[in-house]
Symmetry: C2
Subunit: 362 residues, 2 copies
């Protein structure tokens, strides 16, 4: 979806890197995160300040090979190294289907997937207080809802996955101000193949341990990709910085205007298709005032969390018969009546999808 | 050490990548390793064929965020998912100090560090046959020796770490022909900050499981870095391909001639310093015929495995007093009489190091 925007930007965001540049393992030995490229850190700080979606003051930036690696780094950093049993990692269902897989694939003795946070909260009353980490994904993947922590305990450890807290998807109501927040370029600018994410971390020791994880896991993070991500994030910031050096001309859209409008158009198109078919249901989102764009709108998430109405039990199979690929609700800790569908493919694919969906009859 | 060569190469290896390129997660959906950039795979195959250091026929290429990630991917792929106890991972001492750390940092239930392969082999006789993976590093890090498997069992699983099996470090006597071989650009061309390694894998299911590991760990590998590594490896191949399009002019050195000569010079310089001081000892290497360069020479490894002679017990502390940073033998499963020192720093640092070493008196 973002490809066209970046094509229209032309050579402004072209990365040029000579054969002899950035050869060493190290980026900045004075930084706690010694493999963090200073120009990438600068671009992160500037963009958060402009968009107003996260507090960056008194935070350490840890860069990762996508926020996927940072998720694992966070678990490693937050679990006691010598706990008597693995710490439970929970998230309210429906949750991102990769969380259980990433948590459990190495059968770590440090942490284990604990499932739905609502259920954990019920089982985990005062007579049975197990330590836990709760992942709060807001806006949520897969259903786009705005979320807060579910397990109501003062000693709980929270990780906020804010991959989708950008103004093309949801109103920016206030700067997020949590202990550990995860972001990624895949979702903010569309550069998934670059594999760059970042964490904003309040506690110095946690940031150090996350850095240690990445050191042991991949000895740092691609410099080439950090330099590229820096260029892309600066271009996004330039486009927002009205009156600045790289700001768009009169009548030209900023990056977030462009992508916001495209998402709005796609959600309208999807809702029209769903209405036509009458077999499905989509979540409704409350209207919120976005301080960044100074307008009110409803969330328009990167995924559609589609529900089959009536007696249809397996929505994924139904859609497959109509040649629509989706991911069934079970992967997300929910019933197979739901599926997740990406709202971000290329135009042609998205049009084909909504067309096919609109023609499905019971 | 390599920086100067790449500077002299000028703009030939400059990577130019537009803002809209390589945005997607996917590189090649027809390939088992779906995030492998085809141009990177091509460059790997071409270079191995030219250098003759590894058999690539009937092998799957899996790309990783450095060979560090591929090491972990290999452990994940080779251990049974439902074993009753973690599989032992062993390597003959002295071994690369990161192996135990990478194996144990997540307290995996799949595998655990089993220490020195010689000791494991003794304890693990026919009455006590535990399954194991042996890491064979050849040339070895830290001591530069040429190695074969130590544990003598037909049911052992071997991983060959061949990061240093390149003609600047050691004679290429024959193409390595093992089930699972690891390589990295950090050591072959010096581009450590690019974080790109590759595995040559005979068994399709193992290659698939390694791909799965990288999918769960980082959802693929930076495309930008793969494209850059492809360009660098092609330039190295061009320089070797006498008479080819990019081959050096008469009298100009190929990449491997340049780096071989520099390593030879540095080893001479180090041996002279060691002789002058009379407090230390260095390993001697047998002479071998290199089929690639058609000449005989002794290994000139990327690390010096320096031993303090006499009563000196802690070589690392001794060197620190003379302002030389090194890594003590204990990290490598050996005595503190040894230290590992990098032979690859910038010229100035290397000169300073040999100068300081030569002046150390008992």
């Amino acid at each position: 979806m973002y490809e066209r925007y970046w094509k229209e930007m032309g050579e402004k965001t072209t990365l040029v890197i000579s054969g002899w540049q950035s050869i060493s393992y190290f980026s900045d030995l004075t930084n706690l995160c010694w493999f963090l490229e200073p120009s990438f850190a600068d671009s992160v700080l500037r963009l958060h300040k402009l968009v107003g979606n996260a507090v960056t003051q008194d935070r350490h930036i840890v860069v990762g090979t996508g926020s996927t690696q940072l998720f694992q780094a966070a678990l490693y950093a937050l679990c006691p190294p010598n706990g008597s049993e693995p710490m439970s990692v929970v998230s309210a269902a429906p949750y991102y289907s990769s969380y259980p897989l990433m948590t459990d694939f190495l059968k770590s003795g440090l942490y284990k997937w604990g499932g739905d946070a609502h259920r954990f909260s019920k089982d985990n009353n005062n007579n049975n207080r197990r330590p836990y980490i709760e992942i709060v994904t807001s806006p949520n993947n897969p259903d786009g809802s705005t979320r807060r922590a579910v397990v109501n305990r003062i000693d709980g450890i929270l990780v906020h996955d804010l991959a989708y807290y950008w103004p093309q998807y949801t109103p920016i109501t206030s700067p997020a101000d949590h202990d550990l927040m995860l972001f990624t370029v895949s979702k903010s600018t569309g550069h998934a193949g670059t594999r760059i994410g970042w964490a904003l971390v309040k506690d110095k020791e946690v940031a150090k341990k996350m850095t240690k994880f990445i050191e042991l896991n991949t000895i740092g993070v691609s410099k080439d990709s950090q330099l590229r991500a820096a260029k892309i994030l600066q271009a996004v910031a330039d486009s927002c910085d009205r009156g600045g050096v790289g700001s768009p001309e009169e009548g030209q859209a900023t990056f977030f205007e462009y992508s916001h409008n495209l998402m709005a158009k796609r959600w309208n198109q999807l809702r029209a298709a769903v209405e036509k078919s009458q077999l499905f249901n989509l979540p409704e989102f409350p209207c919120g005032f976005c301080k960044f764009s100074a307008q009110s709108f409803q969330s328009q998430p990167a995924f559609a969390w589609l529900k089959c109405e009536g007696e249809m039990e397996d929505c994924e199979s139904l859609l497959r018969r109509w040649r629509i690929l989706s991911r069934g609700g079970k992967h997300f800790g929910d019933t197979p009546k739901y599926v997740r569908i990406s709202m971000l493919p290329r135009d042609q694919i998205f049009h084909l999808f909504t067309h096919r969906l609109s023609t499905i009859q019971s």
